[in-house]
Symmetry: C2
Subunit: 196 residues, 2 copies
Amino acid sequence: MRRIAIRPATVLHPHPVLLIGTFGSDGKPNLMTASWGGICCSDPPCVAVSLREATLTYHNILGAGAFTVGVPSRKHVQVADYVGIVSGRSHDKFPETGLTPCKSEKVNAPLAAELPFSLECRLLQHHKLGLHTMFIGEIVGIQADEEVLGPMGLPDIEKTRAILWGGLGNNHYFAVGEKLSEAFSAGMSLRGNPRT
Amino acid sequence: MRRIAIRPATVLHPHPVLLIGTFGSDGKPNLMTASWGGICCSDPPCVAVSLREATLTYHNILGAGAFTVGVPSRKHVQVADYVGIVSGRSHDKFPETGLTPCKSEKVNAPLAAELPFSLECRLLQHHKLGLHTMFIGEIVGIQADEEVLGPMGLPDIEKTRAILWGGLGNNHYFAVGEKLSEAFSAGMSLRGNPRT
């Protein structure tokens, strides 16, 4: 390998594909795709999503104080891409994609009924970082397809068939691949490493 | 499908596997694994990583005002797991794993020379959320193995062979799988959907 310095860029592997559900002040449900986001705190359980002020979702979250974060499956690739391309200001994305909006039981935001699971979030904080503003939501509930739950009673990535985005260096969606090894276990054998 | 409500939990698919490089106040390089993190702003380019106050890395970042975020490849699974299990307070993780610490050219933090790429970050903000505190770093440089760069001159996920963590519902590392379709393109055909 030859290690070189390259220009600063927003690359990280992998990026998630997150479908953010919100209501407008007129009650219209909207859905948009975001990849700048992820879990950010274990207790309380929180998720962060960064959005540009230009998006309708930005204003919907501030207005309602709530949002949902849906995780699409492999069969939703086309839909996930579409809701990231067009604006809810000029499109009615639920009927256009065939997804069914359901009101969250816990917060004032819609979720798409067909997704494997959706986090229901209450807005806790938001921080303007630059082009993007980060919204931090407490996860107060989860709606999940019973069929995607694993032995822990939680969504199991082998059942949700979640997708990921390759990012700026390879602008494609990818499937989750083969299972490699157990976490918090695979590294234990290094404890006996003669170099320690 | 049958949609049910489950308890709030920190599940999202996929989670990245991030190796955070920091210097202690004594100059000792440390590396730890984090999965609560990701890109959070395009301009300036920023990455967020959430850490518990109990970790050495938490204090190292506050002390140095800098950190690196390294992305491991499939061949680093065991190492990535190990540095998330033991503390830098009682272990010297670079020699223990065989990784080589190099000082970042841009910030006061080390990176592991063998990783496909590492983001060099200057601490911009930090926010206590609860058990975790979120550190937001501006990406001021990237060190990359020339062999993992794609046509865009950026790390290409098909070359980095990055891994992901399945999360609380399936506690294993996974490979990136098959390429599905092009982003910002796959959904365009829905524009002509008769439901619109």
